[in-house]
């Protein structure tokens, strides 16, 4: 199953100018559990998808919200010259390709 079909929300957003967070939200507990248990959403697998070091990725399941939060350091401080996404709102694309 593709992550984009299992999820209700796949979004990204800055949490301050130095951090991007990805929120993966699910409609059903079944899909949430499947995602939490999937090796495709381990820190190491997400690091491969984003091509960053695994130690840069934090994965935090939030069962009450049927959600998984992923936290990544921004490679450039938001809004500095050369930044490509000041709000960090379009950094969820690599998640779209993931197979659970």
């Amino acid at each position: 199953m593709r992550l984009r079909d299992a999820a209700r929300v796949l979004r990204s957003k800055n949490a301050g100018p130095l951090t991007v967070t990805l929120d993966l939200m699910f409609e059903t507990r079944e899909n949430f559990e499947r995602a939490v248990q999937s090796p495709a959403l381990s820190a190491a697998a997400l690091a491969r998808a984003y091509r960053i070091p695994a130690e840069d990725v934090r994965v935090i399941p939030v069962p009450l919200a049927l959600a998984i939060k992923v936290v990544l350091p921004r490679p450039i401080v938001a809004g500095s010259p050369g930044d490509t996404d000041v709000y960090g709102a379009q950094q969820h694309r690599p998640l779209m390709e993931i197979e659970l």
Partner: protein, 457 residues
């Protein structure tokens, strides 16, 4: 009697304390039907957040608002009229987008104008949030400056060249109300401070008050479907209930729990200057289809005071160039073309400048390397930053022309490599800033950093 004394005298402990969040981004347009519905419910206080670090360093650095003056004044008028009609506190945080003195002063000027136009009289408190570079340098020298992520270490020169604000917590609003304010306009402030101050003064548990504040500051964004309509929080000593003032936006246990993740890097703990909100045991329960009850959040008082500081530093003037291409050879070689044309421009143009190209269709948007597909056509945005607008524009002009006609191995498109969507394709783009500071700073007495002025309007 002051506003606070009237609030205390009126407060019935058997009834929930009702806080209304009018807007999560005051100045872009408060949605009137929900706002009026909220006022009709006679909340005990009305608050709104007016700023953020999200739009980038420009607004803080340049000292200007991100919102338009006319709409901002209309929004302020709605809140002021609503709060004065009910005789309840109006609390505004992060005035004027950036929350530094120029933003605060522009907001206060609007408030005074509205009061004059409407014949309103009240006690107006303003709270400044500017932090001096000397205080930051002293903290850095003492090892009391902690970066909140990956950011170049600021030199003392960077710090001196930056406009700096600190985020006040609840205590600024509390002190302003204790001084007798009816209306509080604060510089840079934690969103939570706006909505947790009245509950704190009336003795409600801080865990619940801050949790409620954290959710309602975004208005109805915690609902399904999310939106920007005003929302009420009904606070008791055991729980709080969320109720959107748009009947079509429903606060559900899932939508509220999910909202708590928004823009947070830690879903279980939120650090504020005076303490930490702990959400590990927070629970959400439907009251009915429209409202959700929340309880269980805990609060831990800080042992050491730390405030979050933000600094924006001007880097220079900026010009940009806008162009497209649909030529597969140009697309394939675009990185090489841009590099060669930059070298050429530098040889023709002796002043220093920095170029930052983005190629849309070839990694124009991603911050990270993963998950990219190439497109049939590309769009090129080149940003040029230099000491003056003249130099930035001058370099951009030469770059544009040499990019259009650049010869490269395998070129077929000798008529021109680029498609310009507009003329001129090179534009002045104001000043470029960067965040030089996004740090925690150790402070002994946070109240001293956020001075309050009380005036009769």
């Amino acid at each position: 009697m002051t506003m606070l004394e009237r609030l205390r005298a009126r407060h019935d402990p058997k009834r929930p304390l009702v806080g209304m969040s009018a807007s999560g981004q005051l100045g872009y347009g408060v949605i009137a039907p929900a706002f009026e519905a909220g006022v009709a419910r006679k909340p005990d206080f009305i608050g709104a957040d007016m700023g953020s670090v999200d739009p980038g360093p420009y607004y803080l650095g340049a000292g200007v608002m991100a919102t338009g003056a006319e709409r901002t004044k209309r929004d302020l008028r709605m809140l002021l009229l609503g709060a004065r009609k009910l005789d309840v506190p109006m609390l505004l945080g992060t005035a004027g987008t950036g929350g530094a003195s120029p933003h605060l002063d522009a907001t206060l000027a609007m408030i005074r104008e509205i009061a004059r136009e409407e014949g309103l009289h009240f006690n107006l408190a303003s709270i400044r949030a500017d932090i001096s570079s000397e205080a930051v340098i002293a903290a850095q020298r003492a090892g009391g400056l902690l970066p909140l992520g990956r950011i170049p270490v600021p030199t003392e020169e960077d710090i001196r060249a930056s406009r700096i604000v600190g985020q006040m917590g609840t205590s600024g609003f509390v002190r302003a109300l204790e001084m007798g304010a009816d209306v509080v306009i604060a510089g840079r402030a934690c969103d939570t401070g706006i909505f947790a101050a009245v509950p704190q003064l009336l003795g409600y548990p801080m865990g619940l008050a801050l949790h409620m504040a954290k959710i309602i500051e975004c208005c109805s964004l915690c609902c399904l479907p999310g939106g920007r309509d005003s929302i009420l929080g009904h606070l008791t000593h055991d729980d709080f209930v969320l109720e959107s003032m748009n009947p079509d936006r429903h606060a559900t246990p899932l939508s509220v729990a999910a909202h708590v993740l928004y823009e947070q890097d830690d879903p279980f703990s939120v650090s504020e200057p005076e303490g930490k909100l702990l959400l590990r045991d927070a629970q959400y329960e439907a009251v009915d289809q429209h409202r959700t009850r929340c309880f269980g959040a805990q609060y831990e008082e800080a042992i050491k005071f730390r405030i979050k500081i933000e600094g924006a530093q001007r880097l220079g003037a900026r010009a940009v160039m806008l162009a497209g291409s649909a030529d597969p050879v140009v697309i394939e070689k675009i990185d090489e073309i841009l590099r060669d044309v930059e070298t050429m421009t530098r040889s023709l143009y002796p002043h220093p400048f920095q170029l930052y190209p983005r190629v849309y269709g070839r990694r124009g948007v991603p911050l990270f390397e993963g998950g990219i597909r190439e497109a049939e056509e590309i769009f090129i945005l080149v940003e040029c930053v230099a000491a003056t607008a003249e130099i930035a524009k001058g370099a951009m002009l030469s770059f544009k022309q040499y990019c259009l006609h650049h010869g490269f191995a395998g070129r077929l498109s000798t008529g021109g490599n680029l498609a310009f969507p507009i003329t001129p394709p090179e534009l002045d783009a104001g000043d470029a800033y960067r965040f030089s500071l996004y740090h925690l700073m150790d402070v002994d007495r946070p109240d001293d950093l956020f001075p309050i002025t009380l005036e009769q309007v």
